[in-house]
Symmetry: C2
């Protein structure tokens, strides 16, 4: 089983506009056939997502046309689910329990991890994200919801001088491994990385 | 003449760590031969940068080994330059004046625009950036200096509902054109985009 994302990200790192609209929707042309979504979903047998994402979709009309008929959906949440969710939807209290339940369901192929950023971060930090797949979308939003929780800082001469004066060898972050890439007609580029465990 | 960047950016969008250390330096192996820098520089006949970047380098030892012998350097700044800068360094008050001076110097090939984010944004906004070249580096910093000035926001149910209730057709940001790409041994990927004018 492999937990994998397929998330469109702007050049300045946003997976959604400030109002929550996925960055995909900022493309002039986007549908499931254009940016690897269909190919990605061919290997997907279950879905896992955070509660924010679930509530956003659930309140926005998934019930009018459930997107994943026949596929188990795991929602990572600390609160009870709505009473009218389909039988295929289960709650899990954290990424580890979600993965355990997916194993119990007999899932062997891919599981799509839907963003937001909190869910992606939670699986990444727990060492339970197997593939960070992003599609770099060639546009700049300026403001929005980042791929991962981040803290942007401005350049500071004081911090720079402190760094130069320090003898500490900085700790280098782990590198991910590139497992796949694909370029689409509009110049978007899919990059699939395996996080270091 | 073409104003172009070649900037290493982490998967979460940072060109430098919080202390100002370029994200390049977080790679286990990085030198001018490994990530397209040498190739990029073969076409570069002049350099342009913002004042923050210039002061950072100038105070950090460029004078001990000037990196661009024989190449003009333009610094976009509103303040007079240090009195001991080399003769090849000129000040310009904004990107337009920098480009004008580069033309007057007879530059015909590429001009490297060195980050920080303020300089990249200024040239992009002025329509004077010809190529946004980034190298996606497969690591996550969490905190640092972003490629461009950004405003990250959290998902808000209120904003999402307001968006759903609105009849306004959202304005789509312009797409950039993919002009080149290259994959390196460590899984870093160079993407070169031409901004829309």
């Amino acid at each position: 089983m492999r937990i994998a994302t397929h998330i469109g990200v702007s050049l300045d790192g946003f997976l959604a506009e400030a109002d929550g609209t996925p960055t995909w929707d900022s493309l002039p042309k986007f549908d499931p056939s254009t940016h690897g979504y269909e190919t990605f979903m061919q290997d997907v047998d279950a879905i896992v997502m955070g509660r924010t994402c679930f509530d956003q979709g659930f309140e926005d009309g998934w019930m009018d046309g459930w997107p994943w008929p026949g596929k188990p959906v795991l929602v990572v949440t600390s609160r009870p689910l709505q009473s009218d969710v389909p039988d295929s939807v289960q709650a899990a209290r954290d990424p580890a329990e979600a993965v355990q339940k997916l194993h119990e369901l007999g899932i062997e192929r891919d599981v799509q991890l839907l963003g937001g950023q909190q869910a992606v971060k939670a699986f990444l930090d727990a060492g339970l994200l197997d593939r960070l797949g992003i599609v770099v979308l060639p546009l700049v939003l300026g403001r929005g919801i980042p791929l991962l929780p981040i803290e942007p800082v401005d350049f500071s001469t004081e911090r720079w001088h402190a760094r130069q004066a320090s003898d500490d060898e900085p700790q280098k972050p782990p590198m991910m491994q590139l497992e796949g890439q694909e370029t689409y007609a509009d110049g978007s580029v899919r990059l699939a990385y395996a996080p270091t465990r």
